[in-house]
Amino acid sequence: MSSVRQEGKDKIIFVTKEDHETPSSAELVEEDPNDPYEERGLILPNGEINWNCPCLGGMASGPCGTEFKDAFSCFHYSKEEVKGSDCLEQFRAMQECMQRYPELYPQEDEKSSSKTSQDSTEESGANSTSASEQDSNTSQPDTESTAES
């Protein structure tokens, strides 16, 4: 049972878990997915990339911002079966740039040792990618319709 108290202009209510179990009757205004004022997520309603998304941190604005934008744009619009496989140049340029700023983009040393196993890495990578692509096909409708959180 909830208890209510009034202290002057301030109302104080104590509620138990049970008190709050019944669904709320409060009505919220329906969201407009195309509201131009709203803060947007990473992908805008028109399908473009929101470079100002807080989720990108400084990636689009730092010294390698241009390279990052080129690589990510290419990937985003890539229609290849292996998404982004037509963007190797952009990825490489991005990596080269990032290597010049180790303070901003530290590298993990242990991961760069597998030059000889390059082919096998790409193979297993390809398998995994097509698997996740399948996932993406099924879940994409959900992704697109999710309101910005």
Binding site: F14, E39, P54, R92, E103, P106
Partner: protein, 560 residues
Amino acid sequence: TRASAGSCGREHDLIISPFFDNSCIPVDHLLTVSLFSFAFCLALSCSLSVPLSCACCRCLMHIPAADSTPASLKVPSHSPYLLIGGGTASFAAARSIRARDPGARVLIVTDEPDLPYMRPPLSKELWFSDDPSVTETLRFKQWNGKERSIYFQPPSFYINSEELASAENGGVAVLTGKKVVHMDVRGNKVKLDDDTEISYDKCLIATGGVPRNLQVIERAGEEVMKKTTLFRKIEDFKSLDNVSRNAKSITIIGGGFLGSELACALGRRCKTTRQSGLEVIQMFPEKGNMGKVLPEYLSNWTTEKVKREGVKVIAEALVKSVTCKDDKLEIHLKDGRLVKTDHIVAAVGLEPNVDLAKSAGLEVDSDFGGYRVNAELQARSNIWVAGDAACFYDIRLGRRRVEHHDHAVVSGRLAGENMTGASKPYWHQSMFWSDLGPDVGYEAIGIVDSSLPTVGVFAKATAKDTPKAATEKSGTGIRSESETEDTATSPVASVTPLPPVAHKDDYGKGVIFYLRDKVVVGIILWNVFNRMPIARKIIKDGEEHADLNEVAKLFNIHED
């Protein structure tokens, strides 16, 4: 606690982490980001680690610290984007401009010696650090356990001012130790304190403010002034840290956010072995801590919490005069009490910096102070204002001026967007937070003024709960203290009969609504986290709700 809340406890400025930690990526981004990161790894046959791990949402970025050696001091004669002030709003604007205008050239001019940094840790996290060299490193541990620097970016992020004009992809240059003293709006240029001029295409004024002082201290003479700290910048943090190691007694004058946070930080420090001899006093005219923000019952509860942090709280204290006697300060209160102390920290508000208003011919707001700007943060053509110095029109809540970190981020970002042609009004409501030591915290949004009527909905402790069990379950660590809380003094008006167990007033978890003309204009989330989006939504809607308990249900306050 925030840590047990799961993903980013504080919303805003989530950082994608393609290669490590997916818990902070919003669901609708996750797939895009993980596919991108995988493709990236695939293309390079090795994984590139980009340290964008989940940062506390209060901070703009997670980047390893570096020293603060500023970039070159050569002054360029022109910059397409000129940002006056080198604080949070300015940095957020710079980032926004660079994100939207490819290859933008941005020049930040600041009179401070430091590159842009964030302010909240100066009165919070930095004081909790175990590292004895924290005043040098200026690194702190975020709520998620990861360490970072207070500087938004290390020096390598910025380019030299000389290179600004020629850099192929543009960049952000910072001119430190230079003050803009004159603004020529007709000529689109400013003059610095060394007489050099910089012309601009678009200009942002983000000059923040200067701490206010008490008149009685200003009039008290040099001896008193030397033993007084006005707290705002890195140098103030270093100075106060030094004082706290040598003084026997420090008195904080002011009962708001800054004063209470510093009091708790110093009080907590004196509870540890290092500073066991330090007396921490906090005095203010209100009846309790945060008296202008929290409704009285909660302000009282908070004051008890502050006292448990080892602070001697003197409420309803008005300072009449301050003198220096035998190398100690004597604070004479109007009610006759005398407080002797070694050092004073005055945390009595901020004076927005509008020095350029006169030369620029810009309007200053007489109610709230600061430069008067419209809903899109524009003062005049080509001139925007953001952060503490901006008195802006909030479409939902009316004209206001906000002095919080997240507002500096939100308004700085918005100004940057509008400087690059967006024409968007202030719409995404900023939030703020405060911690009373590392165990208790609240987040707030909108107009949170204790003079407004409020409705507080709190989770009730059941008869089955033991204080210890409740503490462990909720992680708040408050229940054990609530046994000795004073109960409310006002008569009780029960709608339903109280349960047989007479519970003490235990404001462990809850949500408080602030009302203006029956509409919720402000919300405090009291020890509940991860709920800011729903709070923001309620304020945005601006609807009248008949029963706020029903609205409170949306917050699931009983869950972690």
